[in-house]
């Protein structure tokens, strides 16, 4: 596959040739920041449109189809609307925390987003413990949710935030364990290392049944982690109207909305990276011609395509299943997913230790 670090190095060298190092870095930081923000927004707009079309298809209706061809500008119109809406503050809210909360959620999801590998060398943050970093920063989002619930001075938001807190902390365990299963299989915690290890086959296929179990657990726990149906207890619009962000309006609400959709994509992206080979094309050992043809498809397309498939699966069960109750949700995690994950990790370790994997 094409190594994108050639391009980034070329830009770096070009800037270094006539600028001091600090200026070069500054420009690069700004460039990367703008690129991430732009990508973040475009993806969110796309996902909102995509979800509405998917929901439409599931519900025997059309979905947005008026603004632009096939309604593709619908989310842009929605975005404009949300931008010009008034920010409403309730009485007796904690203004500082109220304003701060959306940014916690947003920043957490952006940091996680920056870890996703889009191709060889096309990745913003690439630590040796990249997976660990990803888990750590994605966990920050819960602070924003709790703050929002607390600072809004509303009983609905407090209940929503408490539910979200209990839910996210619980499901982080399962996510961590299912990721750990893959780390055990690949022997690396670096995102690049994990993707490279899938050159001759995706972990979903290489890791026997434990990888499959880990994948399913990841899908369930991931959906719960990003507060989407059937695990959208924190919002539960039929119970708590909108849960922790009930009192937010305008772009503040927009931030939550944005983060929710991007988290959906991030969930898909991480699943892709860990289980479906990341940006790696589909390689089947022995089929050289096939592999070469597959290599012609750019890595970005592979990554986006796989992520969107995972996102679609998530949407599929969001629009099919009813919502769990909070105690059922916690029971599912602590009584089923967590023990299964632990056993699964043990089995995977045995498989790796004995070299039974492909």
């Amino acid at each position: 596959m094409y190594d994108f670090s050639n391009i980034t190095m070329w830009i770096h060298n070009l800037l270094m040739s006539f600028l001091p190092e600090w200026a070069t870095l500054l420009i690069e930081f700004v460039l990367i920041g703008v690129a991430i923000l732009a990508l973040y927004c475009i993806l969110a707009l796309f996902l909102i449109y995509f979800e509405r079309r998917v929901a439409g298809a599931f519900q025997c209706r059309l979905g947005p189809n008026r603004v632009g061809p096939f309604g593709i500008f619908q989310s842009i119109a929605d975005m404009l609307k949300i931008l010009i809406k008034e920010l409403i503050y309730l009485k007796n809210i904690d203004h500082f925390l109220f304003n701060l909360a959306p940014f916690f959620v947003l920043v957490a999801s952006m940091l996680t987003f920056a870890c996703l590998p889009w191709g060889r060398g096309l990745q913003v943050i690439n630590y040796d413990v990249g997976v660990f970093f990803m888990l750590a920063v994605s966990g920050l989002g819960i602070i924003g949710v709790l703050l929002a619930g607390w600072s809004s001075n509303s009983k609905y938001t407090v209940i929503g935030a408490m539910r979200a807190g209990a839910q996210m902390i619980s499901y982080e365990l399962s996510i961590g364990l299912s990721i750990l299963t893959i780390v055990a299989l690949s022997g690396s915690m670096s995102v690049t290392g994990i993707v490279d290890a899938q050159y001759d086959g995706w972990f979903l296929f290489k890791g026997h049944i434990p990888a499959l179990i880990a994948f399913i657990i990841y899908l369930i726990a991931g959906s719960a982690e990003i507060n989407r149906g059937p695990f959208d207890m924190a919002e539960a619009e039929s119970e708590l109207t909108a849960g922790y962000h009930t009192e937010y309006s305008g772009i503040h609400f927009g931030f939550y909305y944005l983060a929710e959709y991007l988290n959906l994509f991030i969930m898909g992206g991480i699943a892709t990276t860990l289980f479906l080979g990341g940006w790696m094309p589909l390689h089947i050992p022995g089929w050289e011609t096939f592999n070469t043809i597959m290599d012609y498809i750019p890595s970005i397309v592979w990554f986006l395509g796989k992520s969107i498939v995972v996102v679609w699966i998530s949407m599929w069960f969001r629009w099919t299943f009813p919502r769990l109750r909070i105690d059922q949700l916690l029971k599912l995690e602590w009584k089923y997913l967590l023990p299964i994950s632990l056993v699964n990790l043990a089995i995977m370790s045995v498989i790796v230790a004995l070299g039974w994997h492909f």
Partner: protein, 542 residues
């Protein structure tokens, strides 16, 4: 019935008896509680089902008419209790005998100002606390200066009023506490996605658990009963479609039937067929909407659209014939407004073929889902006895095993000529209430299929005089609306206006029972439980 009469006159010699639609007993207030207890505890025919309490202003006296029924034998009777004191009218409460009297008596207090002694919670039910006067009294001052539009919100009070009779006969005013100061009270509604209208519930919580629910009604109170008193009978018909808009056909059927009863008009058979079919179509559409909204309450948003998809077919059929999709205005006194559309029968038969298949799809999609099962089984359980005590009729009552279907108990229209089963379950939980409605759709289709091919030729309505006057007297008729027994009470003084028109809505009792049904559950169970009771707010508030 004669034996009951003997028993009562042995117990209370002052009681007067009249034979009308049912046996009517008139007792003084002092004896009423004793009689009520005796009737409730009667060995042969315990009158355990309080059908309704009609508050009345007879001019000279104020009082109530109680309609009672024995669920064991099906015997019905009514009791008339009155008080001559128009300044401070008091009657004795029977809320300790029949749970449902709690809300009914609050309604009477609200509209007539009759204070019920020993009632635990003597607040107004529909109107604001600062409302001046009691609107259904004949001496009510309706001028806008007395009750201007209030520009401030009504404060929520945590205590209520109760008038307790001491052992020595003295009446003491007490202030029972509804919510203690350290209760965590959340306000659900009146603007809330899952209260199915403008119902307001104040709930005290213990974490996620519901400790107590206190329903507030009246946010969509339109004074329909008051307005009816100044409108002619054909005009009053129009309100029925706006009570429970999902039982528009049945409600109107009830009022038409009550008026026809009073005038002793025979409705043509063709009209009877059409009325019965329309009632059942309405029931199907209501249950389909129930399915959609209930699933939506449980977080399955897709189901809402599926339910609406099939409901649309029913509405299309009704629209062709009646010209409307919501407030049909189709039944009229003596028959129906106009003849059926030529496509009516064909389309109904098509629908009857499709619907059972779609029900299977619903079950595959939602009922069998493991999450849905977990949310429905064994939650918000209510027993048959408590159902009867709360007068919870309709599918909610039948889910607890109470055979309360008016179509079977007091057959009207063509229900005694068609074959159908009364769907009964015994669990009394959300799942039972859900499944009863699902199975009732099939039974409704069964009824329609028996009728649709046999609609006889003939006129669709009896010719009525331009001005309809009812003879003096009073009548009470019930039909099985989509969510329970819907009753109409008319008192006439021989005018072209009703002297008193009372709608007895099934929804009010469902909301009244909400506290008992959902207490101890979680917030999510309150939403699911409320959804499974399937109340419609305009029906309650009237």
């Amino acid at each position: 019935m004669a034996s009951i009469q003997e028993k009562i006159s042995a117990l209370i010699p002052e009681a007067n008896f009249t034979e009308a639609q049912v046996l009517e007993i008139s007792v003084p207030d002092a004896q009423w509680h004793k009689l009520a207890k005796a009737l409730y505890e009667d060995a042969n025919a315990p009158f355990d089902y309080l059908t309704t309490i009609v508050g009345m202003d007879w001019g000279e006296t104020l009082g109530c008419v109680y309609y009672l029924e024995s669920t064991k034998t099906g015997d019905r009777l009514s009791v008339r209790v009155e008080t001559a004191d128009r300044q401070n009218p008091t009657l004795h409460s029977v809320a300790d005998i029949w749970e449902s009297a709690n809300f009914y008596e609050r309604e009477v207090y609200d509209f007539f100002g009759i204070i019920f002694i020993n009632h635990p919670d003597m607040r107004r039910l529909f109107l604001r606390r600062d409302w001046v006067g009691h609107p259904l009294r004949k001496d009510y001052d309706a001028s806008p200066e007395v009750n201007p539009v209030r520009l401030h919100h009504e404060e929520a009070y945590d205590t209520t009023v109760s008038y307790v009779e001491q052992a020595d006969g003295k009446i003491v005013k007490t202030e029972p506490v509804i919510f203690a100061p350290d209760d965590y009270v959340i306000n659900i509604g009146p603007q809330h996605p899952s209260t199915h209208g403008v119902l307001r519930l104040r709930c005290s919580l213990d974490g996620e658990f519901i400790k107590k629910i206190d329903p507030y009604c009246g946010y969509i109170h339109r004074g329909i009963e008051k307005m009816s008193e100044s409108l002619t009978y054909p005009q009053t018909l129009h309100f029925t479609d706006r009570l429970d808009y999902l039982s528009a056909m049945q409600n109107r059927h009830a009022l038409c039937m009550c008026i026809e009863d009073a005038m002793q008009v025979e409705v043509p058979t063709r009209a009877q067929y059409i009325r019965t079919i329309n009632d059942e179509l309405m029931r199907i559409s209501s249950h389909l909407l129930f399915w959609g909204t209930f699933c939506n309450d449980l977080g399955s948003t897709t189901a809402l659209i599926y339910g609406f998809r099939e409901r649309e077919m029913v509405l299309d059929i009704l629209e062709e014939t009646t010209g409307a999709r919501m407030s049909f205005h189709y039944n009229k006194i003596g028959g129906v407004m106009q003849d059926i559309h030529p496509d009516y029968q064909r389309k109904i038969k098509e629908f009857c073929k499709i619907m059972p298949e779609r029900l299977k799809e619903y079950h595959r999609f939602f009922t069998g889902n493991v999450i849905a099962q977990g949310r429905m089984h064994g939650i918000s359980v209510i027993s048959k006895e408590r159902c009867i005590a709360h007068s919870m009729t309709g599918p909610s009552g039948r889910a607890s095993g109470w055979a309360c279907d008016v179509r079977k108990r007091i057959p009207y229209a063509l229900y005694d000529k068609v074959e159908f089963d009364e769907v009964l379950r015994t669990e009394g939980d959300i799942y039972a209430r859900y499944m009863v409605r699902m199975d009732e759709i099939l039974q409704s289709i069964r009824i329609i299929e028996q009728l649709v091919d046999n609609i006889p030729e003939g006129p669709v309505s009896e010719k009525m005089k331009p001005i309809i006057k009812l003879p003096e007297g009073h009548w009470f008729r019930q039909v099985e609306a989509s969510r329970g027994a819907f009753g109409v009470y008319i008192e006439s003084r021989g005018d072209k206006y009703p002297y008193r028109l009372k709608f007895n809505s099934p929804g009010m009792m469902l909301v009244a029972s909400l506290d008992e049904v959902c207490r101890g559950g979680k917030i999510a169970d309150l939403i699911a439980g409320g959804g499974s009771l399937d109340y419609v707010i305009p029906d309650i508030d009237r």
